[in-house]
Structures are given as structure tokens and as C-alpha cells.
Symmetry: C2
Subunit: 343 residues, 2 copies
Amino acid sequence: MMRRPTIADVAKLAGVSRSAVSFALNDRPGLAKETKARILAAAEELGWQPSRPARALSLGRAGALGLVVTREPDLLGVDPFYPAFLAGIETVLAEQGDGLVLHVSSPERERSLYERLAADRRVDGVLLTDLRIDDPRPALTASLGLPTVVVGRPEWSGGHCAVELDDEPAYVEAVRALAKAGHRRIAHVEGPPEFRHAQRRRQAWERALAELGLPPGPLRPGGFTAEGGARATRELLALAEPPTAIVYGNDLSATAGLAAAQQLGVSVPDQLSVVGYDDTPLAQFVHPPLASARADAQGWGAAAARALLTVIEHGSAPDVRLPPAAFVPRASVGPVAAGSPGH
Amino acid sequence: MMRRPTIADVAKLAGVSRSAVSFALNDRPGLAKETKARILAAAEELGWQPSRPARALSLGRAGALGLVVTREPDLLGVDPFYPAFLAGIETVLAEQGDGLVLHVSSPERERSLYERLAADRRVDGVLLTDLRIDDPRPALTASLGLPTVVVGRPEWSGGHCAVELDDEPAYVEAVRALAKAGHRRIAHVEGPPEFRHAQRRRQAWERALAELGLPPGPLRPGGFTAEGGARATRELLALAEPPTAIVYGNDLSATAGLAAAQQLGVSVPDQLSVVGYDDTPLAQFVHPPLASARADAQGWGAAAARALLTVIEHGSAPDVRLPPAAFVPRASVGPVAAGSPGH
């Protein structure tokens, strides 16, 4: 027999069902002792081996990619990026029967998780997301010999392959649209400053203001959270000269900011224009519908998975640049009102 | 040497770094040929084996649990349940070094995914979530000999261990609170009717109305989505006798429904009371803050993972009943206005 024997072959030789073979080979209860013995004898006769561990031993392939997400579960739970990104990875892995090993980690456990993934050969490579300032992970996975793809800009990748979807153009577009509508005091509520992408969004806002000759706008931390977005908005609206427009780090903080303004009696967009980022499914169904930026997280996951499979196979892969995020104007953005202090 | 040799032992014997050992054992480029040969000789001398595949071959353990989520990526992306649930699973797996193999599947691929997980011994057992009416999965995983825990009610489990967190009490409480506030026309916007939990939420609403002696309220499909919640709300408010309160299948449809009412000039809660389910991080930061129901998804994930590890170890585990979800009243619920047609 040239091909590798399958469970079906074992079942045929032992004269039992495939599920009985599965029970016997996995040493699970529920089979008569002699049936189990007959199955094991047939498996031995055919030289049957469990295919995944066998492949891992003979080819050095685990047949799985790894993703360690280091975020608070709460922050993860409201970010539509990851589920769409995971779905994109899956579309690629499904083609070749590989799996995804996912960990949700605290910062403290992160390092040991990567070490274990490498030592146990549980995955063939890893995707790094949410790159941070001075992120230790690119160097760590390199030292572990773990094939790696960085989900973000090439200059964050520490020499690994990078798969980028740029968020900067959407922020520049948003600030330009607001300036065109007459806004001069445009604030930003930024995401966690340790994240590279949050930092990049803030810098895009700063640069766009400078390019338009507008004064630097007020900045508040929002942490990508609803609570942070609401708090930052209340602080901004309490300023002696409040902004007439706020660009947020993501939709979650923008949606909460919109509600916080309304609760203070500030009308959106008449007295305040609001822009998010992510174009979450909810964005167009809040009141008023939320201007945002659309990024193809699913396509990003697929591209990152494809790049990582190439790195695993060939040792390296070219960087990938996906189409950047695009500003999506909606009714939460309007012209500066005649009576506004910002007019 | 009694204990299993580690990469550190190999590194010591070969006089190289641990990462060099990792490179050599994983057959990755970047090492001098003679260094690699020395490392492989040291590994052979010590009898080093990659621990994960070795364990899988010798003990029949893959060291991983499996979860196949059969949902549209869009629906997954906005549901805070899964990330919190995954984080809960992780807290348990982290204790013993196991991993989670996650698949996001279409209904068509679902069956073959479970078959492959079983055939490849890629996981030691699976968690079944989003149980459906006539769900084929409990019987399928039983026939595959895959240890299984059903995340839901025991009567859905097909004989597997069930880990339940009941959503019914929160719906009954919500309807009672609305009735106490004077509401008599209380509508429901239900989730995908193929989901057991969506069906159970609808039945809880029906039963609570009946127990309170209230007429059966209008029902509309909402699909757990923002779009579905907005559409259902517009339909309900266009009725000859519109409801004065709407209880939704989840927060996403409720948040969109709230905005849809506001867009029609219907004031919440003065003219319409609104209740969601999930208590998403955004719920208390919309305007007005959304009454909802709180369920401990992270605790649910942890309990389900613990139960599955027990099933894997001992062949079975007792069903687990977690504290049920609790109604969280907020400003989106108010008394029926004097001028309301429902008064």
C-alpha cells in the first residue's frame, strides 16, 4: 500500500465503523474489549499513524498558525477588527486544512506563550498584531526561530514580512473634509498611546492640521473605549474654546462621545461634528449616523495568513501593501453653525 | 536522566544558545552546517523529542481544545460574547499549557471541520456554542468520539455535558419592570430564529406577558444585527397601535432600534422604552443609556473549558448551571407618558 493508511482502511480491515476506530485509537470508553483489540491489531498491521502528530514529527510542520492577542478581554470584546480578521485568516487556512491556535493573553504571560508555541512546535508561525512602541515581539519570535508576519507597517516589523493596511489617508481625508466644512478647532481623542496604530492616527491628524494651516487642536486620551471616549468628549466640551469637531481613534469611543455630547445638550452635527474609525456595523445605525473610516479587516486577515504561509514555506515573503482605509462621510459631520464660537 | 530532556539540555550539551537549538530542530535556515549537525547529535544523544507531537503520539493528547464558530463574520464581529468567552477559556487553558484551536466556519464547511479535527487528533475535545434547532453537531461529535461540552441548556446537549447560563430570568424581569412602569404593549425584536438561545429569549418574553395578563405583543425579526433592529423598530412604530416598549434580542439591535426611533422623532424613554441584552461596554454610553441584561461570558468560557477538560480526562462531567443573566435597568426605560396611546 503506497498511500498512508486512513481510519477508513483500519475500519474496513477490522470490520467496524469509522467511529469505532476513532474511539479505539483515541482510547475512549464505550467499546467492547475484544472489538478494541481487533481495531488496534488492524491499525498496527496497516501501520496507521495519527496524521497530524505524524506530520509534525516527519515534516516539522504543526499544520497551524498562531495568534496571541494581548488585550484586555473588554477591549477585545468591542473591537470588530479581530473577528473579521480571524474570519479572513480562516478563509486561507481552510484551503489547505491548517488551523489557527489562538491565545488571549495578559502582557505578563505574552513572552512565555510565544516561547511555548515555539518549543512545543504547536504552530508553524505567528502573526503579530497591535504592534506597540518598543515592541519586544519581533525580536523575540526571531530569536525563537518562529516564522513571523507583522500586521502593520514595514518599519515596525523588525525585519519580518509586514502586511500593511494604512489608516493615515482616512484621517487626512476626514480632517480635510472638516476643514472644508468650515471647522478650525478640530480635536482628536486618541487610542492607547502604546499602540503604534493609535500613535499613527494621532500623527495623521496633527500633520493634516498643519498642512491645512490650522492651529494644533486639543488632544485627549480615549483608550479606544466607550468610557474613555465619553470622558474625553466631556473634557473637550468644557474647554473655554471647545472644538467644533472631534476625530476619534475608533468608532466605539466616537459613538460614546456622540452620546456624551447629546447628554450635555450639544447637538450633533449642528454644534459638534463627530468622526470615528472602523466603520463598525453599528456606525450607520446610530443617531445621527456616524462618519467613519472603512478598512477591510477580513481581507487583511487573509493577506496576512497567505504571507505567513509563504514565510513558513520559503523562509521569507515580500511585504504586502493593501488598499488604505477610506473616509466614510455621514450625517454626524456638518458645516460649522453660524452661531458657533468656532465660526 | 529521569525527566524528559528539554531544549535547554540540548543547548548545554551542544554548547549553543537555545534559539540555535530551536532553529536546528525546526530545520530553519541560518545556522552553519556543522553547528546544526552538532545540535542534532546532542538532541539524539539526549533522546530529545518535540514535546507536543510526542505527547500526542504517546498519550493520545493533542493538548488543545477546539471551537468552531459557525456565524457570518459580520455577526461575529459585533457580538461581545465571543471575545469575552474566549478570554475565559484562556484563563483555564493557561493553567495547564493547553491551547485553543479556533475555526470560523460557514454552515457548509462545519461538518468536515469537525471530522478533520477528530481524524487529525488536532484537539482533545470541542465546545459547541450557538446551539440550533435540530442541531446536527451533538450527534456528529458523539459519532466521531470527540469529547464534547455543550454551551447551553442540558436539553440541547444530546447527552453531552452542558454548561448553562440562563437568559430567561433577565427577560422575565425586564417585562415585569416594563409592566410595573405602566406598559401594556410590549414588543420583542428577536434574534435568528434558528438559534436556540434566540428562541428561548422570545419564549421568555411571551411567557412573561402571559403571566402578567398582558396581551401578546407584536414580534419582529431582528437577526441580532443593527440593520435588523433598525428595520424592526421602524415597522413596529408604524403599526396602527405601536408598542410603548420594545425588548430586543441583543444590545446591537436595541442600540440601532433606539437610534431608529429617535430618527423618527420618537423620544426615548418618554414615548418608547427600550431594553437590550448583553450589557455591551457601549450600552451605558449611548443616549439615553440602554437598559440591558448582564451575563458573565468570561466566567462561562472558563466553566465550559473546565468541564471539557474533565470530560476529556474522565469521559464525562456533571452539567454546570451558572448564575443566570440579570436585568440592568437604565434610563432607556421609563413610565408610559400620560399622552401615550398605550396609557
